[in-house]
């Protein structure tokens, strides 16, 4: 019985000589990447061109391989990070940082062509990570929605935010 099955296997394998090959000849022929493909990590800006990152450290906390390092700026009322560093030789492109980010600042884009000769060149600083655009969330500006007061926008002026209530005014 095994002889018949072996001959059948040989014949079926031989027929594969005439099948189309599945190989994508990569550098000349690019593979199709889904729009949600998770590749290189970028830091996006809000529609006004300001950095979206508010240095909440959630991405660094959720990162399973500890490849994100950042430091909040020391200046008061300044929420952008002083440095923001991703070590892509450790990153596993899991996308947890993108999910954790409350301001949609950190995003993964479908670009994976980041080979380098030396490992050190895979450590990306903030200026390498920042892009000019808004990424996947075009009209989102964290500071216009959040209740935090910023220069030029007092408390209660954010979108969909009611004016602040003075709790003492309700006293009898």
């Amino acid at each position: 019985m095994f002889i018949i099955s072996a001959i059948r296997t040989l014949w079926l394998t031989f027929l594969h000589l005439f099948h189309k090959t599945e190989t994508v000849q990569y550098p000349e022929q690019k593979p199709y990447l889904a729009p949600r493909y998770r590749g290189r990590i970028v830091l996006t800006r809000d529609p006004d061109g300001e950095e979206r990152c508010v240095s909440c450290y959630l991405c660094a906390a959720v990162c399973p391989c500890d490849c994100i390092s950042l430091q909040k700026s020391a200046a008061p009322d300044q929420w952008t990070p002083e440095h923001f560093r991703i070590n892509f030789s450790r990153c596993i492109f899991c996308g947890f940082c993108e999910e954790a980010c409350p301001t949609s600042a950190i995003q993964l884009i479908p670009d994976f062509e980041m080979s380098e000769i030396s490992r050190q060149s895979l450590v990306y600083e903030k200026e390498h990570l920042l892009i000019a655009g808004t990424g996947k969330v075009p009209d989102y500006n964290f500071y216009r929605i959040a209740g935090v007061a910023t220069p030029g926008k007092p408390k209660g002026a954010a979108l969909n935010e009611s004016p602040p209530v003075d709790p003492r005014g309700l006293l009898p």
Binding site: L10, H19, T21
Partner: protein, 319 residues
């Protein structure tokens, strides 16, 4: 003087041809395996990847030639030499064309071939033994058991051909096949011979001495650089050897219509080599006890029955 020079030139040409063919086979095998698995295989270096052989050769020559400190140095070095030498020596008796070949007229040609393939097993066993490591020893032991049990019916299978021609001379055997290839009257000798040949060459599905998934690399686990390269080349050369001896014994050697004899011989050998590669692409490796029981319980009775029937028919006067 002239005759000596001529045979010397022929010997060097055969030696070079076999080594280059064996090296080329590594590339051909990878390409063919690729196509049979719906891939492309190596196609980057040179035209369609043909220079891949050169790249591999440079790589393997510049690797560190490491002899483990726990190995038996002399035997460890001798083992790959034995494997390659015996395989290449066996080519001496193969008739490559009507008057080509180093010594196709040797009156014990077939016995010489069988002796050389048996000797090449020593290389494998010694490699496994002198490596002084468990996986290598297991691989060597498997090689010994497998080769002994498959050699028994390999020898018996060719006896059918010898009975029909009455000669061990390979040239006579080829000459006897002008009318009818021996594969037709001796089909049940051909089948065990081919299977035993695959086992001799340690090719899948009988590559248990190597058994990558359970033994690392089997008998050549401890080998690196050109010592490993010699095993590798020896293995591919033995594929060529088994293919050519099968063609000589059962498929009429260089006989064929229209095309010149050398082309026919090359075509037939090529078909068998492709078949060997197809076997690797298609079949899984049997368990060790299955391998043994196929050999002793199926193939040996088959060859003995074939032998008895051939003898009975010859006695009765039917060809």
């Amino acid at each position: 003087m002239n005759a000596i020079l001529l045979s010397l030139i022929q010997a060097v040409a055969v030696l070079l041809g076999i080594t280059l063919l064996a090296a080329g086979l590594t590339f051909a095998e990878r390409r063919l395996l690729g196509f049979w698995q719906d891939r492309l295989g190596p196609n980057r270096v040179g035209w369609q990847g043909t220079l891949q052989i050169v790249a591999d050769m440079i790589k393997i020559f510049f690797k560190q030639d490491w002899t483990p400190p726990f190995a038996d140095k002399i035997i460890f070095t001798a083992a790959p030499i034995i494997v390659l030498t015996t395989v290449v020596l066996a080519f001496a008796v193969i008739p490559l064309g009507p008057f080509a070949g180093i010594m196709p007229n040797l009156n014990i040609g077939l016995l010489f071939f069988l002796g050389m393939t048996s000797l090449s097993v020593y290389g494998v066993i010694l490699a496994g033994w002198s490596s002084n490591s468990k996986f290598a020893l297991l691989g060597g032991m498997r090689a010994a058991a497998q080769t002994i049990s498959y050699e028994v019916f390999m020898g018996l299978a060719v006896v059918g051909v010898v009975m029909l021609t009455g000669s061990f001379n390979l040239e006579t055997i080829v000459a006897a096949q002008t009318r009818l290839w021996f594969v037709i009257p001796q089909f049940f000798g051909f089948l065990p011979f081919l299977i035993a040949g695959i086992a001799e060459a340690h090719r899948l599905p009988f590559d248990l001495p190597e058994g990558e998934n359970e033994l690392g690399a089997g008998f050549h686990t401890e080998y690196s650089s050109m010592k490993f390269g010699m095993f590798f080349i020896g293995e591919y050369a033995s594929i060529v050897l088994i293919s050519s001896i099968t063609v000589v014994l059962y498929f009429g050697g260089w006989h064929g219509p229209l095309l010149p004899p050398a082309v026919w011989f090359a075509l037939k050998i090529g078909a068998f080599i492709a078949f060997f590669i197809l076997l690797r692409a298609a079949l899984p490796r049997p368990r060790y006890d299955q391998l043994m029981s196929y050999g002793w319980k199926l193939m040996l009775p088959l060859t003995i029955a074939n032998l008895a029937i051939t003898g009975a028919l010859m006695l009765a006067g039917i060809e």
